[in-house]
């Protein structure tokens, strides 16, 4: 056996734990801080409130989207209305101008006859 092998065997040699090791570990484990009543209540609240909050978020999101859609539709309707009024006004203007020009031509004709 080489010196290295001897050192390895020594290092891996089974050793018994020091006296009282088990009781010390158990004592330390029992001293772990437990969840206080307040913390437990808080966790329960969070767990119960989460679905309600999620539902509220969905409803608020839906309302916001509906409002956005209403604004979009309203703006589109406004543009359509302005275009319609513009076309209607222009066509009435054209019709009136034609009537006026016919009146002017006829008026000039009668003046010439006189």
């Amino acid at each position: 056996m080489t010196e290295f092998e001897q050192q390895l065997a020594q290092a891996l040699e089974r050793r018994e734990p020091p006296a009282g090791f088990t009781s010390r570990v158990l004592a330390a484990a029992s001293q772990q801080p437990t969840r206080s009543r307040w913390q437990a209540w808080r966790w329960a609240f969070v767990l119960r409130a989460a679905p309600v909050m999620a539902a509220l978020l969905v409803v608020a999101g839906g309302a916001l989207y509906q409002n956005y859609e209403r604004i979009e539709r309203g703006e589109a309707a406004k543009q359509q209305l302005l275009l319609a009024v513009k076309i209607a006004g222009a066509k009435l203007y054209d019709a009136r101008q034609r009537v006026v020009s016919i009146g002017e031509i006829r008026g000039a004709g009668t003046e010439e006859e006189q």
Partner: protein, 186 residues
């Protein structure tokens, strides 16, 4: 009895379609013209859409405030306008079915101008007792056809007062011309 039931059901489905646009039905062939047009406008605003649009018109903008006042009592605004790149893309028979619906005593033609150039304008008013219940304009030019139906009480004078605003040229004639426009001239 069975036939009566079938007729009743058919009427229930068909009548609302006919009742659209205050009993004026836009001919289907008008929509076909859109395929041939280089530019087309199709505006269909019923009472609820007009109410919605009206809420979005600004009171601060004089033009929009004027339009808001103008449309406050209207039940609908319908516009079909087609622009073509060449002549002969539509025929007057396309609008004939509309003309047939604009009959007295409900409707009366207050303006009818026809020119040799093929520029025809017709303005009809719907009587609602002593008030105007609607306005219909058919403007047919060689490369353009426009149909406007304003359903509800409207003063054409008020509409033409928009001249000088919204891109509508200002009418450079005296107020009396409105009265002369009332005469049917062909």
């Amino acid at each position: 009895m069975k036939k009566l039931l079938i007729f009743g059901l058919a009427a229930a489905f068909v009548l609302p379609a006919w009742a659209l646009d205050n009993n004026i039905k836009m001919p289907v062939n008008l929509d076909r013209l859109a395929a041939r047009a280089t530019e087309s406008v199709d505006v269909t605003l019923d009472a609820s859409m007009l109410e919605l649009a009206s809420k979005f018109l600004s009171q601060d903008d004089p033009d929009q405030a004027h339009v808001k006042k103008l449309v406050s009592k209207l039940k609908g605004v319908y516009v079909r306008s087609f622009e073509f790149d060449k002549e002969g893309q539509y025929s007057m028979s396309d609008v004939e079915s509309l003309r047939r619906q604009l009959k007295a005593p409900e409707w009366s033609r207050i303006v009818g101008v026809r020119s040799l150039k093929g520029e025809n304008s017709e303005v009809y008013l719907q009587k609602n007792g002593s008030k105007i219940g609607g306005l219909f304009v058919i403007a047919a030019e060689p490369k353009e056809l426009t149909i406007v139906h304003i359903d509800g009480p409207i003063d054409p004078e008020e509409l033409s007062q928009l001249g000088g605003h919204m891109g509508i040229p200002k009418i450079g004639v005296k107020h009396e011309s409105a009265k002369s426009a009332g005469k049917d001239q062909e």
